[in-house]
Amino acid sequence: MIDADGLNGTGGLNGTGGRGLGLWQPRVIPYVMRQLGRALGDYERGISFGIIGIWAILLVIIPLLPLANPLHQNVNIALQSPSLAHLFGTDELGRDMLSRTIWGGRQSVPAALVVVCIGFPLGTVIGAFAGYVGGAVEEVIMRITDMFLAFPVLVLAMAVSAALGPSLYHGVIALTIVWWPSYVRVTRGMVLELKNRDFVLISRAAGRRPLGILSRVIMPNVLPSVLVMAAIDIGRAILLFSMLSFLGLGAVPPTPEWGSMVSEGSMYMDQWWIATFPGLAILSLVFAFNLAGDSIRDALDPWVTGRR
């Protein structure tokens, strides 16, 4: 199986499990991103965490910024191209696009963080347990995981929206349900590979208890790779939420949200600024998280930092 990690040859244990949700091919984009990152060389870490940091600050302090009200409509100035008064232009209802673009991050970014922050620890713990214990327990856990993994995320989101009404929270629920299994698969695969390594056997022979072996010996070797995956996944989750909103399943108008803004903008092809700026916002964050994943791995990988 060739994936992003296989291609650039540094992944090692990464990429052992399928982590696509089947919506789009996630392998190509991280690959391209990483190649871009490679070209940026040493600035990788600075750029990625810089972008993430700027967005984090922006999203926290928005209310303090001298921005127009993102919900304030003024049909007189509808569909204005970018100008000094409205740096990013205005949309069809005359709302300020700059303000809307920044406010838009307050929807999908926290939602993506919540999904990953629940899915990552949950999936890692379950996967580590399944891989280490093995036998029937592993079988049962993995089949249940497969069941969840088989849920088409869009259909599930639609079903939840249909049952509970469209809302970002319902999107979060739908995504969380399908998000953790990918970590289970990856973690389990790595634990399986590691648990018969010599250094694990030596720890057993030294008399370490099973729980200690799993948490102190095996997991330190697994976590960095899963962490990298989680970092990249934040970008992916942002993209997915934008997609849900684009399809009208996430944030409800008039709340500004990047996906729904792109969706609205797609109806006004001549007014390029409406779809472009939210789109660039998504791009910048997804790009930054991909780069961040890469630099986290470089920083944590003992082989890259000091190869003999």
Partner: protein
């Protein structure tokens, strides 16, 4: 051998540089040699000596970030360094062929053997279709592969290691090349299979008038096959001459040290003459002669000026000392101290008694409704180790020696039998008592790279066993320093990570780790097979020294009977999960009773010519999944008779040795 002819391949002043971390360093520095038809040039050297880069440069297949920066390579008089890419492709595979070490990764797993063997013919338009297929089958037959027609239709994973190696040789030879380059072609094979393959090579060179360049780290293999020997160190050839004379009277201290660090029949009991230090890394090559920091005869000049190859005796050596006055004949002698100690040790009380241990693994794969198959890893193995003694366990791959180690260490459950250690049957232990028992037996594993947790500092790794057994931290640190001192590593190693350490250093850490508790029994599973030759002797000496100082009992597991004989007081020969012979080390080595032991002994290529004809076993070792009926060795045994297929021989005892054979070799 052959009449003096124009050399087929001439390499002059070859330089290869490697770029790492943005710095360009010379890995091969002015290597010159030539090979004529019918000649076998052996290039011997440790990892990092530049031997593989040298031949990669010849074939134009240098790895990424390496570049040939100087020198001329002439193949049949034509300078191939200036040849076009198309011309090179034509030469490669057609006139120069290669055989690699790992036959499993060198053969394409999804293509049939026949297709791969005939490929060179198709690539070079030498034959097509039917003719090529027939040629491939003929080639397989001439390599000694039974049923070539059927074999050509099989996939690489269906072949054994020896058969794959034969198929690779067939692929290399099918286009009748004039020069073959073989990179460690027998290193991955069992000794009995290695003996077969070496025989095959010898026949091929003789019959087809080939030129062969053989790369190996094993001087035994070299003395067996090579007509000319080139010894490489730190990117240069330091000694070059006719193999037999050179090995009898080596004129470079490095060659001499290599020979001295090998356990040989003549000096099997005493301390090995280990070379101190390690081969220099590319970035830390010392000034002057690169070997001088490890050299016992180095003088002032060696520290500043690097010697070139110059005639010494009837060949060339790059050593100032030897060039002034040839070095004397190499004497190997043991001190015999341990030999005297042996009988006393063998009268001690038993520390470990293994009785009838059996372990079968289910075979994974196949269809779920198919027959359930099992690997018979161990079948009723019994042994006894006395306090302070060393039991050597020898066997080929798949004989169950690693499984035995894991059973004894209680890292895997046994199916039947008992293991009594310090008076308790440990197969029944669970939980807390098992944990307490573990402090008294510790493993050392083969691969120093995988036996240390890459994310844990050395200090923590070594201290682990202490901490999990509740030793206070301050006390643990003191103890860690103490054991690091034992293995000749300072306490400053505590804060390092494994990736900063060389293979030899890691293995020392592995040993330190095993000694940090009140270890009584050390189970060493192939502790040196992953190390460079010059480092192996250091580790063997260290283990022996520690055994003397700490009164350790050791189970020393290896595929190499030569090394086991050097290390052990008693030897146990394991074959397909059964004990075939056991007895005092020197008796087993000198007077084997079981034909398998005899074949193992005879198969090891020794540097000193033994004069005896080598016993080469026919066929492959049988699979442990379906072991043969009766005696499991009978399919390859030169003495086998009808009885052997029906009745399984029991272990027969005589004095303090036993063997399992219906027709044992008579006592002389």
């Amino acid at each position: 051998m052959s009449e003096p002819s124009k050399p087929l391949l001439q390499v002059e002043g070859l330089h290869v540089t490697v770029v790492s971390d943005g710095v360009t360093r010379e890995a091969v520095r002015g290597v010159s040699f030539e090979v004529a038809a019918g000649e076998v040039l052996g290039i011997v050297g440790e990892s990092g000596s530049g031997k593989s880069l040298t031949v990669s440069a010849v074939t134009g297949l240098l790895p990424a970030r390496t570049r040939r920066t100087g020198g001329v390579i002439r193949f049949k008089g034509e300078d191939i360094t200036t040849a076009s890419r198309r011309r090179l492709t034509k030469i490669r595979g057609r006139q120069i062929a290669m055989v690699f070490q790992d036959s499993l990764t060198s053969l394409n797993p999804v293509k049939r053997i026949g297709e791969q063997v005939r490929e060179p013919l198709l690539l070079h338009d030498l034959a097509s279709g039917r003719a090529a297929t027939d040629a491939a089958e003929a080639a397989l037959r001439s390599m000694g592969i039974p049923d070539p027609h059927g074999a050509a239709r099989r996939y690489p994973h269906e072949f054994s290691g020896g058969m794959r190696q034969r198929a690779m040789i067939a692929t290399a030879l099918i286009a009748s090349p004039e020069l073959i380059i073989a990179d460690e072609p027998t290193t991955a094979l069992d000794v009995t299979v290695q003996a077969q393959i070496l025989d095959l090579w010898r026949r091929l060179v003789r019959e087809s008038n080939l030129a062969l360049i053989l790369i190996s780290h094993d001087l035994g293999v070299m003395s067996d096959l090579a007509t000319t020997l080139a010894v490489m160190y730190a990117g240069r050839i330091v000694e070059l001459g006719p193999t037999r004379e050179l090995l009898a009277r080596p004129q470079h201290p490095y060659t001499r040290a290599l020979l001295g660090s090998m356990p040989t029949a003549a000096a099997s009991r005493g301390e090995l003459v280990a070379i101190s230090g390690e081969p220099p890394a590319l970035e830390a090559r010392p000034p002057g002669c690169p070997f001088h920091p490890r050299c016992s005869v180095a003088e002032d000049r060696c520290r500043v000026e690097e010697p070139d190859l110059a005639p010494v005796s009837s060949w060339t050596s790059a050593c100032w000392v030897a060039q002034r006055a040839p070095l004397p004949r190499l004497r190997v002698s043991g001190d015999g101290a341990l030999a005297e100690l042996t009988p006393a040790l063998e009268r001690g009380e038993p520390l470990l008694r293994v009785e009838g241990v059996t372990k079968h693994y289910p075979v994974v794969g196949g269809v779920p409704w198919g027959p359930r198959r099992e690997v018979h890893a161990l079948d009723g193995v019994s042994l006894e180790v006395r306090k302070g003694a060393t039991l050597g366990v020898v066997g080929e791959s798949g004989c169950g020696k690693s499984t035995l180690a894991r059973c004894i260490l209680r890292l895997t459950e046994v199916a039947a039998g008992s293991i009594v250690f310090r008076g308790t049957d440990i197969t029944k232990l669970r939980g807390e008592p098992l944990r307490r028992m573990r402090q008294y037996m510790q493993p050392i594993f083969q691969d120093p790279y995988s036996s240390l947790n890459p994310r844990t500092r050395i200090g923590e790794s070594v201290a682990e066993a202490l901490l999990v057994h509740g030793v206070p931290k301050r006390e643990a640190i003191r103890r860690v320093d103490e054991v690091l001192e034992y293995v000749a590593l300072g306490s400053h190693y505590r804060s390092r990570y494994p990736h900063n350490l060389s293979g030899g250093e890691r293995q020392r850490v592995g040993i330190a780790r095993a000694l940090v508790l009140d270890t009584e029994l050390l189970v060493a599973d192939e502790p040196i097979s992953a190390l460079d030759v010059s480092i192996q002797a250091q580790i063997l000496n260290l283990i022996k020294d520690l055994q003397r100082r700490l009164g350790l009992t050791i189970i020393f597991i290896s595929h190499d009977l030569r090394i086991v004989e050097h290390m052990s007081t008693r030897i146990l020969i394991l074959s397909l999960g059964k004990v075939v012979e056991v007895g005092p080390a020197h008796e087993i080595a000198e007077r084997p009773r079981h034909p398998y032991t005899q074949a193992l002994l005879s198969a090891v290529p020794f540097v000193e010519a033994s004069g005896k004809a080598r016993i080469v076993l026919a066929g492959d070792p049988p699979s442990p999944i379906d072991p043969p009926s009766g005696c499991r060795f009978r399919t390859r045994c030169p003495r086998a008779q009808a009885l052997c297929a029906e009745v399984e021989p029991a272990l027969e005892n005589a004095a303090d040795r036993s063997w399992a054979c219906h027709f044992p070799i008579e006592e002389p």
